[in-house]
């Protein structure tokens, strides 16, 4: 009895959304809405980083939560909700990406801007250099395969730990490391000479 109580306490400590999830699993739409509002921005951001446009990102965000809602019955509360929703999101994004790749479309959305990145630059030259660097990085990320991109996005953009990425993507820790390393290597190759500005 004591053990089960301790287990419940431990579970609640590791899964802060447990109560909401329990309610959502029982069909409580308000609880699910609260989960949506809690994670909407993070899910959208991952989707947007993974795919080619805002429109796609919105679609993926909606789809991800619809699928989560549909599969809520089978959700295992020992896992954190955000890793689960990230997994759904990245899978959807990969599907979208594959379709887009087949269409041979090169989408480089104008929605991203270099605004707000001049935190460490003091003069115009630096801003220009930084802008160029950002553009190069953005294009390099865009060229990554979906699997590499997913790991890179979750690490660099969402700043998840390796184990959280592994849980989110359902891959082994070693795979996270190798993919992240490859993604970074490819980006550095693409950015190439611009690195000199900052080294």
């Amino acid at each position: 009895m004591l053990l089960s109580v301790l287990l419940v306490i431990a579970c609640e400590e590791t899964n802060p959304d447990l109560e909401l999830l329990r309610k959502a699993k029982n069909g409580d739409r308000e609880a699910f809405g609260e989960l949506f509002r809690k994670y909407e921005k993070r899910v959208f951001r991952v989707a947007r980083r993974m795919c080619g446009s805002d429109d796609e990102a919105w679609d993926i965000t909606q789809d991800a939560f619809i699928r989560a809602m549909q599969a809520m019955d089978r959700y295992d509360t020992q896992y954190r909700f955000f890793t689960w929703i990230y997994r759904i999101t990245t899978n959807l994004a990969i599907n979208y990406s594959q379709k887009r790749m087949r269409r041979r479309e090169v989408c480089f959305d104008e929605g991203f801007s270099a605004d707000g990145q001049q935190t460490v630059q003091d003069d115009l030259d630096d801003r220009v250099a930084c802008d160029q660097l950002f553009r190069s990085v953005e294009m390099a990320v865009e060229k990554l395969t979906p699997a590499l991109k997913a790991v890179f996005v979750l690490r660099v953009d969402q700043q998840l730990s390796y184990s959280e990425i592994a849980e989110s993507l359902g891959i082994a820790l070693g795979t996270v490391m190798s993919r992240l390393n490859r993604a970074r290597g490819k980006i550095r190759e693409e950015v190439g000479s611009m690195l000199g500005e900052w080294e």
Partner: protein, 402 residues
């Protein structure tokens, strides 16, 4: 200490460097301008990219939330009758086919699934039969309507039609371990990962003992992520499917880009179907497809000794040990004679009309059991296992003789 690898520096940057290496690497970096530059430049790359993101305003999110719940409500209100008009003709035909092909019911009601017995289901089935085929004989249950026999011999390989590629066996996605002569394969297939290190080969147990084979290529490390709905990577360096996989399947497959285009070798004959044994330049090459349920992943590789790069067939590794190619062929072929059902889901995970009808007839509120990974997928499921599968979709049959 010489300069650590880039990977080690990145582990340090991410705060993931193991304790026992942390001090040594940190001390080195502090005294090494070269390593400091690498870390600093990487930080710069990542910070500039991360900070570039501009989130939409809350208004847009509220709009999306409203749309989301409208969609959820719409989906929840989906009723069996939405598919009836579309399926009516098909059902009528199938009823006729059943009458011709079988004197007895094609399937017994599996025990232990009270959902079969619900009054609602019976009512639905009866209503459908009444509506569709006044002259047709009374069916045993809705499940009869969509059963079909799919022996291997009658399923030609059609590389343009993804739906045939899983026809050779029924229930997949079990667990398998194997190892080649010198490298261990770790991980498990089904609801998890199969981490297969470079140069490894082995089997994934399929259904009731059917072997699937995987052989990893060259110096690469690959993984199959079964749980997340996408097949990732290629399995054998000599088999790459970019050109060979039907267009529909491409959406389910992820292609690793580490193979230069000029090294891609298409093998269309081995992409679809089950076991293939071909004579090529005096050498017999055996290949097996491993289809994983929940998404479509097709892996094919010669079962061979890869230690010295030769293509000599050594048999198929199973949980019971090495199985000869001939034994595997018989087992594989026999398995295909089992009756099975075909379930088709589109890119959004929506079943086609026939699939919806089948599921409606079997499982009330079946959509609750459909995993989100079922999209752009054609499943062939052994008839007796369909309910068990959908209810226990995450179950992982154990491999008894590892």
């Amino acid at each position: 200490m010489k300069c650590p690898d880039f990977e080690v520096l990145m582990l340090m940057l991410d705060g993931e460097l193991p304790e026992d290496q942390l001090k040594e690497v940190t001390d080195h970096v502090e005294s090494c301008p070269h390593c400091r530059r690498i870390i600093r430049s990487q930080e710069h790359i990542e910070t500039s990219w991360r900070d570039s993101f501009r989130s939409p305003g809350d208004d847009k999110f509220r709009e999306i939330e409203q749309q989301l719940f409208e969609k959820i409500n719409h989906h929840s209100s989906r009723k069996w009758w939405t598919v009836i008009p579309i399926a009516a003709g098909i059902v009528a035909v199938l009823l006729g086919v059943k009458l011709i092909l079988s004197e007895k019911p094609l399937i017994e009601k599996p025990p232990g699934y009270p959902m079969y017995e619900s009054e609602e289901h019976r009512t639905v089935t009866e209503q459908m039969e009444d509506s569709f085929s006044q002259d047709a004989p009374e069916a045993e249950s809705g499940i009869d309507l969509v059963m079909s026999e799919t022996p291997l011999e009658t399923q030609p390989i059609q590389s343009s039609d993804i739906s045939v590629e899983t026809d050779t066996h029924s229930r997949i996605s079990s667990t398998g371990y194997g190892s080649d002569t010198d490298r261990e394969i770790s991980g498990a297939v089904s609801g998890g990962n199969a981490e297969m290190h470079a140069g490894a080969s082995g089997t994934a147990q399929v259904g009731e003992g059917l072997p699937g084979v995987f052989v990893t290529g060259g110096e690469r490390e690959e993984s199959i992520d079964v749980s997340t709905g996408a097949a990732r990577g290629l399995i054998h360096e000599d088999h790459y499917y970019e050109e060979a996989v039907p267009e529909e399947a491409e959406e389910s497959l992820f292609y690793d880009d580490r193979i230069p285009d000029d090294e891609i070798i298409s093998s269309p004959e081995s992409v679809c179907g089950g076991l293939h044994q071909e004579e090529s330049e005096g050498e017999t090459v055996l290949s097996l497809d491993m289809d994983t349920i929940g998404f479509t992943a097709v892996f094919s590789a010669p079962v061979s000794s890869i230690d010295d790069g030769t293509e000599e067939i050594v048999g198929i590794q199973t949980c019971d040990g090495i199985m000869s190619a001939e034994e595997a062929a018989i087992l594989w072929r026999d398995s295909a004679k089992l009756l099975s059902v075909e379930l088709v889901f589109d890119i959004n995970g929506e079943p086609d009309s026939m699939t919806a009808l089948l599921l409606d007839s079997l499982i009330p509120e079946w959509y609750l059991y459909i995993p989100f990974i079922f999209r752009d997928t054609t499943l062939i499921i052994q008839r007796d296992d369909i309910c068990e599968y959908f209810v226990n979709v995450n179950s992982t049959p154990a491999c008894e003789n590892e």
